[in-house]
Point group: C2
Chain length 107, copies 2
Amino acid sequence: MSTATRTSRSRRVAAAVAVPDDETLAAMAKALAHPARVKILRVLDARTTCVTGDVVTEVGLAQSTISEHLRILREAGLIQGEIEGPRTRYCVSSAGLASLKAGIAAL
Amino acid sequence: MSTATRTSRSRRVAAAVAVPDDETLAAMAKALAHPARVKILRVLDARTTCVTGDVVTEVGLAQSTISEHLRILREAGLIQGEIEGPRTRYCVSSAGLASLKAGIAAL
DNA sequence: ATCGGTTATCGTCGATTGACGATGGAGGAA
DNA sequence: TTCCTCCATCGTCAATCGACGATAACCGAT
């Protein structure tokens, strides 16, 4: 418990963080269970936003491999990408990340 | 951060949490990347300590499978087990878990 | 309409994972 | 000693992962 001292029957104050169950937490952990994906998260966080090509350059793996890692992170809800013309812009999902943090912190 | 408000150049107060690099963080996440292992952590936390057989009963997988999961968690530094006569007693490694939490929180 | 740049998806291959039963060793009890 | 219990390890099998090149789809500009 850190931000939310206010728990029980009070008004919803600010973004109730979803606490994931075992299954979901494991899935999110699995998405992080690869150095390249951890690095991708850091890259996205540092630049606040980038297109796939930027990530390919930064991480140094094949484009198809990066695209796959991005898919895994996206399906885990840790990042989100929006199509922007011919390219796709990715950013970390603060909601998803918060959920992961909450789940880990609750251990 | 929860326990340690005291950070910088003060005397080392209580267990400076090691912040893991990408590789290590990924390895710890990988250890959590399975529902059974998440559950095992919860079981250990709830009972503060248990022998392998208890975990087998609680989780409901084959003894060899549980033993393997315990090994993975142990090698990731998330739990520690001490041999106690004919059985092995496992408990959560607060240091390892703190390291994981720090790594995740730093994302 | 066609071309060039940017991504996602497909197919493949070797490596790793996860599950289980079987085996073996280390302790306590008889 | 001789059991019996508890646990880790081994061997095996199917399933999944990770990386890559090749291909296709999509869009903007020419």
